[in-house]
């Protein structure tokens, strides 16, 4: 103690800044103010605004705001050149300048789904994407949905630029159920110069009949019975008809193939027993058919647990002991949420030639003790793989991203 408090004289260490005896601060602190640059800029901006206001008053004498209205596409004449604005659900159509007006989708009863409604802005003369320069002229962009008679309102996300669709100016995800019916979707842009641009499109959702099989009405207790049932479905049920399959809490040995349908496959539990597959499961939808698999255990010793040959969404499933737990190969995609992957060589493997959809989510999964948790060998497209809520623990490699595809792990936990 070689120094005394400036206020009470209490002995203090030489480098003390504070006296714990009387709480006096020993050296004045340097006061740091709000950044000057911002203030200066605000002042400059205010002066510029005043000048602009004067110029604006003159300009407004010559420019009266114009309201532009059309269905799914319109040409907006700006002072330098004209822009083509169009609404579509397809990125390739948007880039090609093709709008999509009315659209009708089928959805099986009990399912909910979403479509990314996209607004593209192209240079009218060159056909090139011009949303960035156009966005600077936009004051606001809004979407509104209006249900038609006997229909329910489409839920939608506020329009915003979406990195999943880098060429679209704005994207609004539309959420619907099988009984949503028909909605008009209005896009309204308000420009900085006061002009307004309104575009309209219509989305109709029609309920699709489904075929349901339950263990109480159909034999499916053994692998043989299940294979017999699947063979009869292939022969008797059109591939356009979705199939809902409720499986009993039994273990199926050997390979199982789900053919060309939209599948909803539900596992079940009975005490400690649960629907379990010990052999490879193939899901073979074609032409947009897909599979949703939930509540099933995949328990193996080697080989592949799930071989997706179409889009397969896994929910609440568990995989353990496989060389590869789930793989998406050419023309397919695997998405997983609320699943556990434990002690596999590779848990999720993406080696596919397609990019898929607007919601490539891998939410709330747990990857534990795998050689590689997620392996991305090949994956085109711009989708951001979102691992929010997923836990990676004790894996040899958490994410082997050979293609450097964009992966969002901001909300994942690595232990």
């Amino acid at each position: 103690m070689s120094k005394k408090c400036v206020k009470c004289g209490h002995p203090l260490p030489e480098d003390a800044s504070f006296c714990p005896c009387c709480t006096a601060v020993q050296a004045e602190k340097q006061e740091i103010q709000t950044p000057r640059r911002w203030k200066k800029k605000a002042l400059v901006a205010a002066v510029v605004l005043l000048i602009l206001a004067g110029a604006g008053a003159v300009f407004s004498m010559y420019h009266r705001p114009v309201a532009y209205e059309a269905n799914a596409q319109i040409v907006y004449p700006d002072k330098d050149h004209s822009y083509k604005l169009l609404v579509t659900y397809s990125e390739s159509d948007g880039m090609a300048g093709q709008a999509q007006g009315d659209r009708t989708d089928l959805l099986a009863d009990g399912l909910d789904s979403a479509l990314p409604c996209q607004l593209y802005v192209l240079n009218e003369e060159t056909g090139e994407v011009a949303w960035e320069e156009f966005a600077e002229k936009v004051k606001s962009c809004e979407v509104e949905t209006v249900p038609q008679e006997n229909s329910k309102k489409l839920e939608y996300m506020e329009p915003a630029h979406d990195e999943n669709f880098p060429n679209a100016a704005y994207v609004s995800n539309l959420h619907f159920m099988a009984d949503t019916g028909s909605n008009d979707i209005f896009w309204k842009l308000t420009m900085e110069n006061g002009d307004t641009i309104s575009l309209k499109t219509r989305l109709t959702i029609e309920k699709q009949e489904v075929v349901t099989y339950r263990p109480e009405d159909t034999p499916m207790e053994t692998t043989e019975e299940l294979n017999t049932l699947l063979a009869s479905i292939e022969n008797e049920v059109s591939s356009d008809t979705p199939v809902y399959l409720y499986l009993p809490a039994v273990t199926y040995d050997g390979e199982i193939t789900f053919g060309d349908h939209v599948w909803q496959i539900f596992g079940s539990m009975d005490g400690d027993a649960a629907t379990t597959f010990n052999g490879t499961v193939h899901v073979n939808g074609k032409n947009g058919n897909y599979g949703i698999v939930s509540g099933i255990r995949f328990e193996g010793n080697s080989g592949t647990g799930l071989n997706a040959n179409c889009f397969v969404l896994l929910s609440g499933c568990s995989f353990s002991g496989w060389d590869i737990a789930a793989i998406a190969q050419d023309g397919s995609w695997v998405s997983a949420s609320d699943c556990t992957f434990t002690d596999n060589g590779t848990a999720l493997k993406l080696n596919t030639s397609i990019s898929y959809g607007s919601s490539p989510d891998f939410l709330n999964n747990t990857f534990t003790g795998n050689g590689t948790a997620v392996c991305i060998d090949r994956l085109p497209g711009n989708e951001i793989l979102n691992f929010a809520g997923s836990i990676f623990s004790g894996n040899g490699t958490d994410i082997e991203n050979k293609t450097k595809h964009t992966v969002d792990t901001a909300n994942a936990v690595f232990e």
């Binding site: 005896c21 709000t34 969002d408 901001a410």
Partner: protein
């Protein structure tokens, strides 16, 4: 007696411990009150460097707590910090979402706090509603336990110290976190004030949504270049 031992002894002799605010394997945070004049302070005792707190010791800023004293010995740090009385932003948000004007006002003051930190080479790394206290009209950014000094062009992985959901991807080891990691977290926080949700689940509408999107780009190069640019956008 050095500062570390002196401050530890003073806590026992000159202060009453009111509450243990936080305790972890890394250390503890206490609310203490001076026995004579009743002034309340935050006392932190943790395993780790005092470098960030020592830098803040000599300054006074409206949107940051005053650091009163800092001591370090054998890899452990003790410090006494101004107690900020007020509601945390997370408590305020329990009562409902904020208007755009309110969110902007808070975000601007946080920019101000972060500008000071960044200009001193400090990344906060844990910007979240629990670490924002509203003291009347003032907004104060607290808790620098996850903060660290960043050095340009040094390639090294960072440890996971931020809060899940608010931490930027590069904080999980993708690259060294600089001030843009705080811009990411502030973008998330702005979105939470307006929607109650992480932007990946529900993005705020209009211009604020566009600001949030730019703040939360996975690639830091695509975010606002620095906190001043974000402040100007707000």
């Amino acid at each position: 007696m050095d500062l570390y031992d002196s401050l530890l002894a003073a806590i026992g002799n000159e202060f009453d411990i009111m509450t243990q605010i936080k305790k972890s394997a890394r250390g503890e945070v206490l609310l203490v009150r001076h026995k004579e004049n009743g002034t309340r302070y935050i006392f932190r005792h943790f395993e780790g460097s005092s470098e960030v707190y020592k830098k803040l010791l000599g300054i006074s800023a409206r949107n940051l707590p005053h650091i009163m004293e800092v001591g370090e010995k054998n890899g452990r740090t003790v410090l006494l910090e101004e107690y900020i009385q007020g509601d945390t932003l997370s408590e305020v948000l329990k009562g409902g979402l904020l208007s755009t004007a309110e969110a902007k006002k808070i975000a601007r003051q946080l920019c101000s706090a972060l500008w000071i930190l960044h200009s001193m080479g400090i990344v906060h790394r844990d910007v979240k509603p629990d670490n924002v206290i509203l003291r009347g009209k003032e907004v104060v950014l607290i808790d620098f336990d996850a903060s660290r000094i960043y050095k340009n062009a040094v390639q090294e992985d960072t440890r996971v110290l931020g809060t899940t959901g608010f931490a930027a991807p590069e904080q999980y080891g993708l690259s060294q976190s600089d001030g843009r990691a705080d811009i990411y977290a502030l973008g998330v926080l702005i979105n939470v004030m307006l929607t109650g949700e992480h932007p990946s689940r529900k993005l705020a509408g209009g211009r604020m949504g566009r600001i949030v999107q730019r703040c939360t780009m996975v690639n830091p190069e695509k975010r606002y270049k620095n906190i001043l640019h974000l402040m100007e956008a707000l």
